[in-house]
Amino acid sequence: MGNRRARQINIVDISDPTQPEWIGALPFPDGSQPAELRVLRGQHLLVVADLTSDVSLLTFDISDCSSPHPLGSLVIESQPHEFFLWSNAAHTRAFVATDLAGPPDLLVIDLDDPAVPVEIARWSAADDGLTGPLHSVSVNAVGDTAYLSLSAQSLVVADLELPSIRIRRQEDNSPALAAFPGAHSAVPIAEVPFVVLTAEFYDCPFCGLAFAQLFDPAQPEIVAHIGLQENRCEDLPDEAVFSAHNPLVVDNLVFISWYAGGLVALDVSDPFQPVLIGRFVPSGLGAAAESYVGGYPVQMWSYPILRDGLIYIVGIQSGLYVLRYTGPGAEAVEQIALAEGNVIDEP
């Protein structure tokens, strides 16, 4: 588990999911903020984005979990904020969003040789007449489309033919936008032309979640915008943040970390009318006193990961939760070996 305050990554043994056990921490150099982690299991490869260090992207061989072996590192021009790890039989690439550090707003790092990360492409919103920063990015399974969430503006879709990154445009050549200010994450719903969008604000009114349709590639459009009851901003406790944060799409279900809203499950069989089908709000026990968004004890944050039918998710203050989804579609969910919102690994 990454960390944005202590300069370390924590390692937890989850061989018994009912009793996850902290087994150690890996220290980073002073000034590091090793927040973002992704793994490619087949390659035994761990990729870490350090949000503050001069060495901002690092790779490790984790064949032996208890003794990770540093492979390579890369100093990139803009500090990373989030990244999407994409791999197929031929190539492995990290798509790095730089958020406030850009431009450039997007960097594509080739990891075919993980010991020698190499930048192979970059993109800046300003070059296309858009306003950054780029908060997050996702890529489809084929690797020819990127979904870019510009936090000041909107969802933008880009066609990838690396090193070319071309945003989609309307007939008049203006950028094709789905306006959604505060956009944080943009993740496609599998096999259909919809994208789930979150937006991040730390004060009311919080934004909730939206769905954009891409039937017309030149004109993405927000078709549904939903929230929890708390997103009405009525009688909220102090410092509680009810922004949707990071989504995991599993067929017609979406699981979203929602800060104080906990973990939320939606049925998106009809993206025009998403239906809330599950929600988990922890007790707050075990939470640290505060984080960068305040002291409310529930701050679900990470991309949920579905593995062997169980959902793993992290709260900023209270660590790891292991959950079983029991709502509609649970039998299908339990059969899924692995699903992640920020990794494509198709060997």
Binding site: S15, I226, F242, A288, Y292, G319, L320
Partner: protein, 83 residues
């Protein structure tokens, strides 16, 4: 063994306890615009609030908690990876 992956930048060894070294708080984005979102215009996802009064703690709809590990009272946990 499954583990939530993490590795040292310069070292490859585990340490017995998390060092209580804290960084300054990360910069909170100030670039986010003033949200134009009108809360009243947001469709509230059905079936609406949880059975307990909202906002609620310690409540669940169609989720069962199997385990939790709260091991670090000083850090701000972030990204997650499984191996």
């Amino acid at each position: 063994m499954l583990f939530l992956a993490g590795c040292s930048a310069a070292r490859g060894s585990l340490v017995p306890e998390p060092p209580p070294v804290l960084l300054p708080p990360p910069a909170v984005s100030t670039a986010f615009p003033s949200t134009p979102i009108n809360p009243a215009a947001v469709q509230v996802a059905t079936p609406g609030p949880l059975p307990s009064p909202t906002p609620s703690l310690d409540s669940a709809l169609n989720f069962e908690q199997l385990g939790q590990e709260s091991f670090d009272a000083v850090g701000w946990h972030a990204g997650l990876a499984l191996y």
